[in-house]
Symmetry: C2
Subunit: 296 residues, 2 copies
Amino acid sequence: MTARTSTDAVDAGEAVTSELDEALTLASQGELGVYGAELGAGWLIGNAVNGGLLMALAGRALSVELARAGSHPDPFAVSAYYLSASTPGPASLRTEVLRTGRSVSTVQVALTQTGADGTDVERVRVLATYGDLDTVAHEVRTTAVPPDLPPPERCLRAADAPPTFLRHAAMLDRLDLRLDPATAGWATGRPSGLGQIRGWLRLADGREPDPLMLLLAADALPPVAFDLGLSGWTPTLELTVHVRARPAPGWLRIGLTTRNVAGGLLEEDAEVWDSGGRLVAQSRQLARVSAPPSGS
Amino acid sequence: MTARTSTDAVDAGEAVTSELDEALTLASQGELGVYGAELGAGWLIGNAVNGGLLMALAGRALSVELARAGSHPDPFAVSAYYLSASTPGPASLRTEVLRTGRSVSTVQVALTQTGADGTDVERVRVLATYGDLDTVAHEVRTTAVPPDLPPPERCLRAADAPPTFLRHAAMLDRLDLRLDPATAGWATGRPSGLGQIRGWLRLADGREPDPLMLLLAADALPPVAFDLGLSGWTPTLELTVHVRARPAPGWLRIGLTTRNVAGGLLEEDAEVWDSGGRLVAQSRQLARVSAPPSGS
C-alpha cells in the first residue's frame, strides 16, 4: 500500500469479493491513523457484534496503518479487551503505533461507537504485536496434535441448528461451520460435560483464510461453556490470539477447551489448524458465565 | 484508600516490609494518574528487569488508581506487551481508566523510562480488567489438576545453581524457588525435551502471596524453552495473566508447559496453584527463542 492523503478512501479501487472483506472495509476519517467502518447486522451473536469479527476489524486497521508506515503487515499477538457490547452501525478505529522495531512493531487501537447521548462509547481496546509471517524461521517443533473429529461431511452443520437458535446467531449465515457430533450434544440438551467443542470452519462464500480470518476463527465457534451445560450468555472480557503461521487454503480445524470454571468466569482456549495440518493460531479468552444478557 | 491530592506520596506512612512491596512502592508524579517507581537491580534477569515484576508494578499502579476512584481492587485479566528492555532506575507509570462498570473496570497503563537522549522510551504497555475477587461466585468446576512434583525439600533450590548462572539472575535472590528435579535436567545439559518445568515458589523474605504476586509468579520460573534445550535469551513479546482467586498463604506450585515452537516463537503456559490446592492463576506468553540478547 502506498502513502495516501487523509481524504482517500482506504479501500478505494479494491474489489471487495467476500462478506468478510466487506465487513473489514475501512474508510478514512479525515485524520491520519483514524479509520471508519460499518458493523453489519450479519455479524451479530445475540445482541452484540461478534468479538472475533471486531478483533479482525481492529487487526485490519492496524495492518493498514502499519502498511502506511512501510512496517510489519501481520498480527503475531493480539489482545482485545471488550468494554461494552458493539451494535450494528458506524464505528471508528483510532490506531496508535507505539513502537516500530526491526522485527516487530507494537500497536494499539480503540474501537468506538457513538452512544445514544451523542458521546463516543468505547467498545474494544486492542494491543498487538505485528511482524512479517513470511520472514520468520521455518523450523517447527510441536507436540500439539490436531483435534480428532470426523470429516466435514459427517459433522453437524451449524446451519441446521433449530431456527430458535439461528435467530440469535446471524453470524452463522456467514460461516460454513461443521461441529463434531461428539461435542454437539448440548444442542439437544446433552452436553458432554468435558468442556470441549471441535469443528471445521470456512467462510460460507469460499473466501480463503488469512491471518485476519484467524482472528475471527478464534471466537467463531459456539462458547465452550455450552458443553458444560452452561447455556447462558458468555460475554468475553479479554481475548488474546497468537497467529503462528499464514494458513493454507481450505478448511480450518478448531478445537476449544476449558479446564477451569470458577468465580463466575472461565477460560476458553482455541487451537486453529489449517488444511496442511499446521497449528496456525492459538488463543485464550476469559469469559463470564451465567451473566445477564447485557451490561457489566 | 482514601482520596488524596496529587502531591501526596502514594505509599507515605505505610510500612514496607518486604522486597516485593519495596519494588512496588509508588510515588506521585505531581499529575493525577501518573506514578513514579524505582526499578531495582535486584530484579534483573540477564540485562533486563523481569517481565513479571514489571507486570506486578503495572498492576499495583492500576490498583492504586482504581482505589482512588473507589473502584475495583483486583486484577482479573492483565495483558502486557513488552516494547523494550527495562533497566534499573526510575520509571514512570501513566494510568488510564477506560471504563468503570458495575462488576469490572477496564484500565491501561504505559510504563516508560528516560532514554539516553533524554526522551521517554516506553518499556511496557498494559491492558487490564479489574474486579473484586471477594465478591465473585464461590462455585469451582475444574478438570485441571495441580502439577505433580516432589515436596519442596526434595526439589532443587534455584539458589544452588552454578554461580555463572546466578550472576545473570539477580532476581533469584528475592525468590525461594524449588525446581522439580525431573524438569531441571537442562541445568546440567540434559533437558527432558518435553517442554515442561515444574516448581515451588515463595518469596525469600516470607511475604505471602496476593494477586499482585501472582502476576510476578507467572513469569518467575526459568523459561520453559530451557527444557527443550533452547538455552538462549527468550524475550517475552506478550504476557497475559488471568487471576482466578485470591491465593492462600504458603507455597505456590507452578507448572510451565509449551507445545508449539514455530517461526522463532513459542508459547509458554503457566498454571499457578496455591497451598489450598486451588488454581489461582493461568497465564500464557508469546516469547522469542534463539534471538540475540538485546534489541528487536
